[in-house]
């Protein structure tokens, strides 16, 4: 990344210091709850709700990074995740006995590397476009991959895809067991969350947000706007690829249906539902999505899940463009205001 500035801008406070400054009791409560959660919940709640929230949130986070900080709404994130999953199936072992059977410490990094490479290609093609054009082009590429996987039998095993996929047994732990799987998903999810938080405050992240706000000025300042954007696609590709590995471990299978348009749009729904402003948004969105996914049956007819989730999405984009986070911030502001009006709280924030 090129930078011509000689006088360096004031470096943003380091993340740990800033986090320590911002810590509130409820943060500890949330962390303690997440860690203790498997002890109090049933297997269904641990894996189906808990772990799924984390890895869907992780894929949503990759979109949040692109859209929230970079201003690029990509619908190809699930395709990237799916490609990582496919690579895991093809390079490792699967029940179709078509896998290469390589060891996990080769397969996982390689799958992620291929996902990142694909994300870079997607980025290179789509940074030529802006705004709504980006949506269209990434959607078209994502659908192209879907059709390619469905038509190709020699590599992607066509319509059927691959089954019999499981996380590797490492350190003698069965990572598909409810509790290990939960903690693994929690760990990687938290890693992604803090990683994006750190990235957003790094020089790169600040420059990225500046290219979102005013690409022309950044270009005039000597920043290579396209390179910044492509690099962001690559980082987001890593997050999506990680999420994709969890996706195949969770489902135990992958087929073209996993990456069809509906599911690709669900990732957008997750990110928008939660809010694109902060990295926590996609995780909140994923939680709402997973809860609706599992309990929409009780709300309304069992097959009408899409109606519920589509309606929720529509309500959010129509009434609260910043998602649930936006609602929360608005509520906080209003509370602070009323409290101040009452004269109970005169602190200046």
């Amino acid at each position: 990344m090129s930078s011509v500035t000689e006088a360096k801008p004031a470096a943003p406070a380091s993340l740990p210091a800033e986090l320590a400054d911002k810590l509130r009791p409820h943060h500890f409560l949330v962390a303690a709850f997440l860690l203790a959660y498997p002890l109090i919940a049933s297997d269904f709640w641990i894996v189906q709700i808990g772990a799924q929230t984390f890895f869907l949130g992780l894929i949503g986070l990759s979109l949040m990074l692109l859209a929230g900080y970079g201003g690029m709404v990509s619908l190809a994130q699930l395709a990237i995740a799916g490609l990582a999953g496919y690579m895991y199936a093809i390079l490792g072992e699967n029940s179709a006995s078509l896998g290469l059977g390589w060891p996990w410490w080769v397969v996982i990094p390689l799958a992620l590397a291929i996902a990142v490479a694909f994300a870079t290609i997607v980025g290179t093609l789509s940074v030529r476009t802006e705004g709504i054009y980006t949506i269209m082009i990434t959607l078209a590429m994502s659908v192209a991959l879907f059709y390619f996987c469905q038509q190709n039998y020699s590599i992607f095993n066509g319509f059927k895809g691959y089954a019999g996929l499981a996380p590797p047994h490492v350190f003698g732990v069965d990572w598909r067991g409810p509790m290990p799987f939960y903690y693994l998903a929690l760990g990687v999810g938290a890693g992604g969350y803090f990683g994006v938080l750190w990235l957003s405050r790094s020089t790169f992240g600040i420059a990225l947000q500046a290219t979102r706000d005013n690409p022309r000025r950044m270009a005039a300042l000597g920043y290579n706007v396209r390179a910044h954007r492509i690099a962001t696609y690559a980082v987001a590709g890593l997050l999506a690829g990680l999420g994709g590995l969890f996706l195949v471990w969770f489902n135990g299978r992958i087929s073209p249906g996993t990456i069809n348009v509906g599911n690709a749009i669900n990732i957008l729904v997750i990110a928008i539902l939660g809010g694109l402003r902060r990295p926590i948004g996609p995780f909140i969105g994923a939680l709402i999505f997973v809860l609706l996914d599992n309990f929409a049956i009780d709300l309304i007819d069992r097959d009408r899940f899409n109606l519920v989730i589509g309606g929720a999405f529509l309500a959010v984009v129509l009434f609260s463009p910043d998602g649930v986070l936006g609602l929360w911030d608005g509520l906080k502001r209003r509370m602070a205001k009323t409290a101040a009006e009452r004269g109970k709280d005169m602190r200046i924030r």
Partner: protein, 286 residues
């Protein structure tokens, strides 16, 4: 040689269908900067409504009219009730259309279930036609081709020779200036959206007769419209025609000569256009 000609004819008729769908899409986009990702849903909903009407009344022509009118009304309602309130917020409008397409797809599945429907055109339009060299060819497909040409020419005349068309073209070039000259832009937007959505519904009935109607077709035609407009250039009817021709022919020739990767060819065309002419073949730089 016969395979080549037959594929060529199939490509032309598919292109005709793509043009019918994509012209509405590109018209709406060009004027309102609204990427209507519910366009595929309008296509499918128009097809279903046309089918049900044709079943009920026994007249295919009424079905076509119903498909067009129902979707035109729907487009009018969407524009007046929703998009008008978020003018200038391109991304948000696009998100809303995604939400609408999710909801519509599910409602359609609810009402018409997952069955595949097929309906037959009137006898005059169906049957076989004798085409030189290819010998026999389904007449209805030639009808689709003719209809697309008529609609295409009609749209061109409408945009280039009428006052409303002139306003639409002016709006594509400079919206703010157009409204400053006293044109009722809201009315113009509503009319354009109604025409675009109506064309989708019309194409739904015409295309549903040529092929079939089933869940999932909405995504297929949405994708086709996207690629056609990306290749042809946003907001240009001529561009939509060129894009539709390229994509339709590529898809059919791909299908005939290398069945596995027919879809990938269309994608390659898109990538090539993006690499060398990002604004599309007939597009103008924003």
């Amino acid at each position: 040689m016969k395979l080549f000609l037959l594929t060529f004819m199939n490509g032309l008729t598919l292109a005709a269908l793509y043009f019918l769908v994509a012209s509405g899409f590109t018209l709406v986009f060009g004027l309102m900067r609204n990427v209507n990702l519910a366009h595929g849903s309008l296509y499918l909903l128009g097809a279903y409504i046309g089918f049900s009407t044709a079943q009920w009344t026994g007249s295919w022509y009424l079905g076509v009219a119903a498909g067009f009118l129902a979707m035109a009304l729907m487009g009018l309602a969407l524009q007046i009730l929703i998009f008008r309130h978020m003018e200038g917020q391109d991304l948000r409008q696009t998100m809303v259309t995604i939400g609408i397409s999710i909801v519509l797809a599910d409602i359609m599945l609810w009402i018409w279930s997952g069955n595949t429907y097929q309906f037959t055109a009137p006898d005059i339009l169906s049957g076989v036609a004798h085409v030189p060299l290819v010998k026999v060819y389904p007449a209805y497909r030639l009808v689709v081709l003719a209809v697309a040409i008529v609609i295409g020419v009609g749209l061109w005349l409408f945009l280039n020779k009428t006052a409303v068309g002139m306003m639409i073209r002016a709006g594509v070039d400079d919206r703010a200036m157009l409204s400053a000259t006293g044109v009722n832009v809201h009315l113009l937007f509503a009319v354009t959206f109604a025409i675009g959505a109506g064309l989708a519904g019309f194409a739904g009935v015409v295309g549903g007769t040529a092929l079939s109607i089933a869940p999932g077709e909405d995504v297929r035609y949405l994708l086709a419209s996207l690629i056609v407009t990306i290749v042809g250039g946003m907001g240009s009817i001529t561009g939509a025609a060129i894009g539709a021709l390229l994509i339709g022919l590529a898809e059919q020739f791909g299908l005939a000569y290398s069945p596995t990767y027919g879809v990938v060819y269309t994608f390659l065309i898109m990538v090539a256009v993006l690499a060398f002419r990002p604004q599309g073949i007939m597009g103008k730089r924003a």
